[in-house]
């Protein structure tokens, strides 16, 4: 044991120089990420007071979350956002990737255009959606009623909770298509071309080729996207903050917007910390289950 330790010590001192390369990074990481993480766990058990001493309240913040009706609404909206936007981004991203995965003039230009919303700030695109869906003279209302005659009169998109959520989800899908597309393109390009040639010789139709070659071989890409987009969907915040601010009457709150409101508007920091840990637990369990049940089924 002692010898082992001494060996370790000499090993470490021999590599002193290498550790110096890690010191600045880990100083930052420990101070500004790890410490806050642990600190927030502690906070979630306290009735945090900004100025006075904070009292230990055990699980009260967590129990409170289960009795808070807005938490229910926030989780419902967040999960719904995931259920709609994750498949939406994946289906449209895959569609775009399939269209772009062939020799085509202007391929790079199309790829760039589809990716543009991904690199643009959430604040700006949320404001654009807020403007085009506004109920007075929004261009969407105008197109739907006056040009295509699909709706009989203008819709107050951002006034009703469900239509407001629809706008936020449409934004989420629109902004995310490009990212899924790039990941799918990378996946598609890793499929050997000979497989399609062989299938073509055997007389398989494009649809058969898609179902029997493309989908099975894209499986790990699909699982990866499902997990990453799933985690991302639980993080929806800026679009809600900018477009609806959780209203009307908190009906469009998502978990993070409610956590933010509780913390920074009402100064219930302990409660906010508990809400973020509940969200983290949900994200962790959901990702783990997706990984467990989908990943082991991948076989070639």
């Amino acid at each position: 044991m002692l010898k082992k330790l001494r060996n370790l010590g000499s090993e470490v001192s021999k590599k002193k120089g290498v550790y110096l390369f890690l010191v600045p990074g880990f100083l930052f990481f420990a101070t500004f990420a790890v410490y806050p993480l642990l600190f927030s766990l502690r906070m979630s058990f306290l009735d945090w007071k900004v100025i006075q001493k904070s009292a230990f309240v055990g699980l009260q913040n967590y129990i409170r979350a289960f009795h808070d009706p807005i938490v229910g609404i926030a989780f419902r909206n967040t999960i719904l956002y995931g259920i709609i936007t994750v498949p939406g981004q994946m289906v449209l991203g895959l569609g775009a990737a399939l269209l772009l995965n062939r020799r085509l003039r202007g391929r790079v230009v199309f790829r760039a255009i589809y990716y543009l919303p991904v690199v643009t700030s959430w604040v700006v695109v949320a404001l654009i959606f807020k403007y085009i869906f506004n109920d007075q003279a929004g261009v969407i209302n105008y197109l739907l009623k006056d040009v295509f005659h699909i709706i009989p009169h203008y819709i107050g998109w951002l006034i009703e909770p469900w239509t407001a959520l629809f706008v936020v989800m449409a934004l989420g899908i629109w902004k995310g298509i490009g990212w899924s597309m790039v990941i799918f393109l990378a996946g598609l390009q890793s499929i050997p071309h000979e497989l399609y040639e062989a299938a073509g010789i055997d007389g398989a139709s494009s649809l058969q080729q898609f179902r029997k070659i493309t989908v099975p071989l894209l499986r790990s890409t699909l699982v990866f996207l499902l997990i990453m987009l799933g985690i991302g969907s639980f993080n929806v915040f800026i679009s809600i903050y900018v477009i609806t601010h959780g209203g009307p009457f908190n009906q469009t709150q998502v978990v993070l917007s409610w956590m933010y409101t509780q913390s920074f508007d009402y100064l219930h920091f302990g409660y906010g910390a508990a809400l973020s840990w509940i969200l983290f637990a949900v994200i962790f369990i959901a990702s783990f289950l997706q990984y467990k049940y989908l990943h082991h089924k991948i076989q070639y």
Partner: protein, 276 residues
């Protein structure tokens, strides 16, 4: 056969053009609105191409002292974060990629767990930490938080690249008696221009667009960065869409410029880190 292929290609192009229209239209409409005077922004039927285009919104935005301040603030935070994050993470990546040392995998995986934790989970404790360290309401105070938020991704990406370089590189330098730091600066950094470009682009975009931390940390309007200034301005002046979108256009143009100039690096960055 040839004809069928032609039809298929035709359908592909039509679909792609339709998609491109959906992707671009909101941006075009933003720019078009930015060129409309106040009376026309909520007019029916909406004008897709402004009848009387005016640059007055841009002039007004750019002339306002506040806006120039916000622009400079964003620039300062972005530059500071990018320099710090790229320097620190390339050092870590160098150590992780080229050396064996006790605790290596522990340190590496500790860092990597940060990739799984949603950034907003930390907003409350980070706010309190910033308060304790007197970093609230200061642009410099944002930089360490932005930096630590970028370390894991950057280190991961650069490590992969450094690992691929041949082992002889540092061996010969070692024989010449070069120090580790010399090897890192003189040999590895110059060889890693492409991946360094990738992390530089990603880090600076993240810092330029960051909203939540800046919203939470900066109270004093003279300290605001562009995203907060734009969002809060819209909140206060509900109908000043022309001004909002002129400011947004100015904020977005550098991003789109960087994106178009370095498109190759973007795609490379995503495909290498996205799917392993």
């Amino acid at each position: 056969m040839q004809q069928r292929k032609g039809i298929a290609n035709g359908i592909t192009v039509v679909l792609l053009l339709l998609g491109a229209l959906i992707m671009l239209a909101p941006f075009l409409y933003m720019v078009s609105t930015a060129f409309k005077s106040h009376t026309y922004v909520l007019e029916l039927p909406p004008q897709f191409i402004p009848r009387e285009p005016t640059a007055s919104n841009f002039v007004k935005v750019w002339k306002s002292e506040n806006f120039r301040q916000y622009f400079l603030n964003s620039l300062l935070v972005t530059a500071g974060t990018t320099v710090l994050a790229v320097a620190i993470s390339s050092m870590m990546a160098f150590a992780f990629a080229r050396f064996e040392f006790p605790g290596k995998s522990f340190f590496f995986w500790t860092l990597m767990t940060a990739l799984m934790i949603p950034g907003m989970l930390l907003i409350i404790p980070q706010f309190i930490l910033a308060k304790q360290l007197h970093l609230l309401n200061s642009l410099w105070g944002l930089i360490p938080f932005y930096t630590s938020g970028n370390l894991a991704f950057n280190t991961f990406l650069l490590k992969g690249y450094f690992e691929g370089l041949p082992k002889e590189l540092e061996d010969s330098a070692h024989i010449d008696g070069a120090s580790l730091f010399t090897i890192y600066v003189r040999i590895f950094i110059p060889l890693a221009k492409a991946p360094l470009a990738v992390v530089t682009i990603f880090t600076s975009l993240m810092a330029w667009d960051e909203f939540v931390l800046a919203l939470t940390f900066l109270n004093d309007p003279s300290k605001w960065t562009l995203p907060i200034a734009i969002a809060l301005f819209q909140g206060e002046h509900m109908t000043e869409w022309g001004l909002v979108f002129a400011a947004s256009t100015i904020a977005v143009v550098p991003v789109i410029g960087v994106f178009i100039a370095f498109q190759r690096y973007f795609i490379q960055g995503i495909s290498t880190t996205g799917v392993k």
